[in-house]
Symmetry: C2
Subunit: 128 residues, 2 copies
Amino acid sequence: MVVLEISEHDVNRLFRALADSTRRDIVRRTLVTDVSVSQLADAYEMSFAAVQKHVAVLEEARLVTKESRGRERMVRANLDRIRQAQRLLDHFEELWRSRIDRLDILLAQDQSTPDEPAPPPSSLKAAT
Amino acid sequence: MVVLEISEHDVNRLFRALADSTRRDIVRRTLVTDVSVSQLADAYEMSFAAVQKHVAVLEEARLVTKESRGRERMVRANLDRIRQAQRLLDHFEELWRSRIDRLDILLAQDQSTPDEPAPPPSSLKAAT
DNA sequence: TTATCATACAATCAAATGGTTGTATTAGAG
DNA sequence: CTCTAATACAACCATTTGATTGTATGATAA
């Protein structure tokens, strides 16, 4: 099993960083190619400084990194972090899915006749 | 293919709603059982009104619904919406993964000797 | 060397967030 | 009917967010 060594605070920052269309678009654009901050700024209807700030938020969430190239700062998606985020989302999905599945089982039980032999408890011990 | 009929604005709200530990915990708690707002409030070190607001944020993101039961308001995770969110995350994952995969292919090409037969172009046409 | 382009960073501002307390309403319990 | 528990909601407050403009610095091009 994969352990997610990511703090609650980091999870908050991660979701927060993704909760903005411009920032999601920046991640998308920087996945394949490095893009300078000014190139990004050209793409949006907002000031250079505003785009700089969005990049900074993504950087704090470690979703992108910046690298100096001449006088430019190239922004690049942090693939490791993104894969980590994907695993995190998988984790939520699994956690939630398993709860939903267990709920479905309980509902099915409720609809069946009460004296039916109980299906194997399938370890209802709370997961997290 | 499944179409995600969810607006950018809704995606923002969704991620925003998930960017708080308390709110994620509320979703977790209400997945299996209905829980009243006051029961939730007992679980956290904050005022009843604060918990009410968190529930309201989740409600606006449509991650939970409220239902009157006597004088109580039972909070319940909105499974349809959660499944929709999961599909959305899957969608991001796929989109990103495919971009990352294409990038990996490009990197592999760069590292190989230039006169080696180029691997099948595998449709580098930008997705989205 | 001197413009100029790309960036950094500070100050400012309005709006949103996340919390509080206080008051009003409503439904059950006695 | 009266008390109380559960909720709704308004007002308020501090902090953060998302944007702006202005100024300073550093690297390149001419």
